[in-house]
């Protein structure tokens, strides 16, 4: 069945700007975990990616998560993999893939956090800056 659709998807060499908007807290719902899987797959397609944490999404990257007592999978180590993908993209001159990991300043501060609270290095953008950057995207995925 897949074959009949193949001609629709001639994407060889096409490069787009993807933004993944994370607005939801971890564990209370699964969205944070499953969107990460989509982020990782986008690397295989060598697409540009902005991984954005806004509103309760900033809780996803809080340090010190320990899920033993709720018996759920602690997925926060996955953010380290995303950080590595970004570093690979930054350092490899042959790879035309720009990744950015962004936290909205207003959301972070409202929750009493600083960048020291996070498991990964992030760029901090104001809502105005993030809003303008959002306009530059080709595809925005939220979940």
């Amino acid at each position: 069945m897949e074959d009949q659709f193949e001609d629709l998807f001639d994407i060889e060499g096409v490069k787009k700007k993807f933004m993944f908007v994370n607005r939801k807290a971890p564990y209370g719902t699964i969205y944070a975990l499953e969107v990460l899987e989509a982020v990782l797959i986008s690397a295989a397609f060598e697409q540009h990616a902005a991984i954005v944490f806004v509103d309760d999404g900033v809780y996803q990257i809080k340090k010190g998560q320990d899920t033993k007592a709720i018996n759920m999978k602690n997925f926060s180590p996955t953010f380290k993999i995303i950080e590595m993908e970004k570093e690979d993209a930054d350092e490899d001159p042959d790879m035309d893939m720009v990744w950015r990991i962004i936290v909205e300043k207003e959301s972070m501060e409202a929750r009493g956090f600083t960048p020291d609270d996070f498991v990964i290095d992030v760029e901090v953008l104001s809502s105005a800056e993030l809003g303008a950057f959002m306009e530059e995207q080709d595809v925005i995925l939220s979940g």
Binding site: F5, L8, F9, V14, F45, S142
Partner: protein
Amino acid sequence: MKFGIMVNEGPFTHQASDSAYHFAKAALDKGHQVLRIFFYYDGVNNANKLSQPQADDRNLIKLWGELGKEHNLDLVVCVAAALRRGIKEEILAEGFRISGLGQLIEAGVAADRLVVFGD
């Protein structure tokens, strides 16, 4: 114009799948192309053929299948999300296929617009 559509919720608890369906239908009615409809998160429940809505309610699982047939649409259920939620080939409704999450990214690359419906 070429559209891609992502559906993040099942056919009953949230309106997302209804809205996505009406959006897809309207886009097709206007002569646009819908390259792919990708079902992720609880959206995979849209492909459960055992679902049996009340007689006076709509049956989105069937409606998606019929729309797919009429317009030769690619209705893709994410395999990872589906495995977790117990949506497997044996209960997969007609017109859907199970495939990888890469198909979502591919749709995003190929389409002029990707529109997300969810909760």
